[in-house]
């Protein structure tokens, strides 16, 4: 399952944009929504995409998310994290 999730995530995260205002929950929400939409557009079912993105966002503060969205590539650790989230979410 994770083999299916990870490439989708990797292909879309680079184009998601997080607002610059640290602590602005609307920016955070918008970035989350956009990332979910992109994962869905990439082929994930919405509940799974919601679940993956929720798990990814909840453990990161705004600065960490800004750093994430500023990069074009996933790190190996992020790739592993998405794989794990994908498996968890698909398992329900």
């Amino acid at each position: 399952m994770s083999r299916r999730v990870t490439p989708i995530v990797a292909s879309v995260v680079a184009i998601a944009v997080l607002g610059t205002a640290c602590g602005d929950s609307r920016s955070r929400q918008r970035a989350r929504t956009e990332l979910v939409d992109q994962l869905v557009a990439g082929g994930l079912e919405r509940p799974v995409a919601d679940c993956v993105v929720e798990g990814f966002f909840v453990v990161r503060n705004d600065a960490e998310l800004r750093d994430f969205f500023a990069r074009d590539e996933l790190t190996e650790a992020e790739r592993a994290e998405f794989a794990e989230l994908g498996e968890d979410c698909l398992d329900g």
Partner: protein, 754 residues
Amino acid sequence: MAELHPPVTDLDRVEAALLEAIGTLGGAATPVRAPHDPVRDGSTLDVALTEQLFDAQALSRHLDHAARWLRGKGVGHYTIGSAGHEGNAAVAAALAPGDPALLHYRSGGFYLARSALAGRARLDGVRDVLAGMLSLTDEPIAGGRHKVFGHPELDVIPQTSTIASHLPRAVGVAFAIERARRLGVATRWSDDAIAVCSFGDASVNHSTAQGALNTAGYTVHQGLPLPLLFVCEDNGWGISVPSPAGWVAATLSQRPGLRYLAADGCDLAGAYDAAAELASFVRRERRPAVLHLHTVRFMGHAGTDVESGYRGAGAIRADLARDPLLGTARLLIDAGVATPDALVQRYLAGRAEVRALAIDLAGRPRLDTAAEVMAPLSPRRPSNVAVRAASAASTDDRRRFFGGTLPEDEGPLTLAESINRALGDVLLAMPHAMVFGEDVGVKGGVYGLTRGLQKRAGAARVFDTLLDEQSILGLALGAGVSGLLPIPEIQYLAYLHNAEDQLRGEAASLSFFSNGAYRNPLVVRVAGLAYQKGFGGHFHNDDAVAVLRDVPGLVIASPGHPSDAAPMLRSCVAAADVDGTVSVYLEPIARYHTRDLHTTDDGQWTAPYVAPARWSGAHVPIGQGRVARQGDDVLIVTWANGLYLSLRAARRLAGRGVSSRVYDLRWLAPMPIDDVFAHAEEIGRVLVVDETRRSGGAGEGVVSGLAERGYTGRIARLAAEDSFVPLGDAAELVLVGEDDIVDGALRLLGERRP
């Protein structure tokens, strides 16, 4: 069941069972009830309020699931939940929003209902609780220090309670509402307010709960008002131990002076009717009552509790059928104002809202430094305290109060007399101050410390309590948080220990866990320490101060000489009033009535009472010691009885050509170690005379404090043996004596006493 929207992939067993059960409820009734109709015939709960409370209950449930989800992600830190107890939302609805509430940890329904009924936005209360779980600095009560139910604008006083340890304070709050009204003192509660406190069924058995219930009954028995609603939320379990069938009802329903009603907490209308009836009774009659709310408990005691290890699957399933949310859903469907499908969708929409809010909040800041964590522990404004400590009533008022002769005109006073006069001045200058404890009223204390004060300040402000230290301190905590200034007396230090959690877990922690939003100004006078010749034994000569010294933020004053007694007491009282400081004022009983230091009639253990005009100059700041005798050969660091013994020893040492500098610590917390260090560096030979025990005694703090500051000179410590203090002359075998001090000083100087 209808298709879930939004789609959900991680419903747990309790949620799935709830939604399935709601889906099977019958269709809408006819006729449809209007918003202000009773939700059920015969109930006082109307439809509109039921809908509002359903939201509070459902959001509370979502918080419990969010807590576990956040914990699973490693960002949530608290999973003790309210699932199954959401009927307590009905209690909130039955009260006025400004009624002070002291809630236990399963109060999500209550908290969210109060938040909503106070007019806050729908998710404000949810945000508060999530912020607590995530330990965020902008959490509105503890600021990231704990997950508690509390909010200054909602009059919910946060409780980090060990088992039921907040109940004595609740009694105190209820007492204070009425006492303050009688005294004409403004508090933070309205005059017709009632206090409410909640606790679990297992907690009923705790001595603290029993003490609070007893004190409530005792108060009523005396004919005194006490507007307090006890709410026992009985889920039948104390973690893994079941409450014996019928026990809780048996122990709560037969209490003298307390009205009792039981209700099913899984039936919102029934719970509301009972709560409203009792709240109305308590408010009208100003008498206490107990609401026994039967609930269920879902998802175990906490996130780490595997309930299946001690409960059968059948019993757990049976509880699911009593889900309080299901009960409220049934009410709404039977009233014709909702359909099963609409309620399921409403539940899931709330679930998504809470989850989304949790994710957004997760990015917020946490406490970052130790200084940030500790900031609200013991805020100090010494300049303001100094000003307050120097304020007194007018001379005319003082003359009337003291019966014609002002204390400063009485001549030299003993320690006991000095404390007595200082208390009188406090009572006169501060109308919100109260002095109470065992025997302090008519008798004036077992050692006469409060003699005459009741007659002068009135029985409403100086009064006897029942014999229960937990209740004495609880009374003080409730009075303090309400806006009064309590000065309780603990008759002997040994009697404090059974009630010590009221100081540690309640008094000292309140500012910390409320980020300064709530304070309980408090000066606890404690008669203690040893050296009462020929009297008492252990319980009247206790010197166990270790349990006090490690309470964060607690101030410990211990005056030895009468000249310090009044200014130090004024400093404690002023700090309580200005900063909400919690102080223990530890009085050496053996020095209460001492008059002489070296020879009969030398009068050197007395001091004239300083007149108010000179209080400013005589002020003793918290944490400031003093040199009691000048000298250059050896520094003797001591306090209280040790000061008396050391000054006597110093005179003998002088006869042998040894010049001793005697330093009186005066404060055991915060200790003036920097000052001691400066003197130690100057002299290079330090003898610590510690009248408390070798292990855990205050002298340990002096020695380690000097070592940590780099003191490298000679140092020795004399301390009491690690023994209880025996009766009679045998006491001298285990306590530090004058000869020991002389010997110790000479040893430091390399000499031997002949």
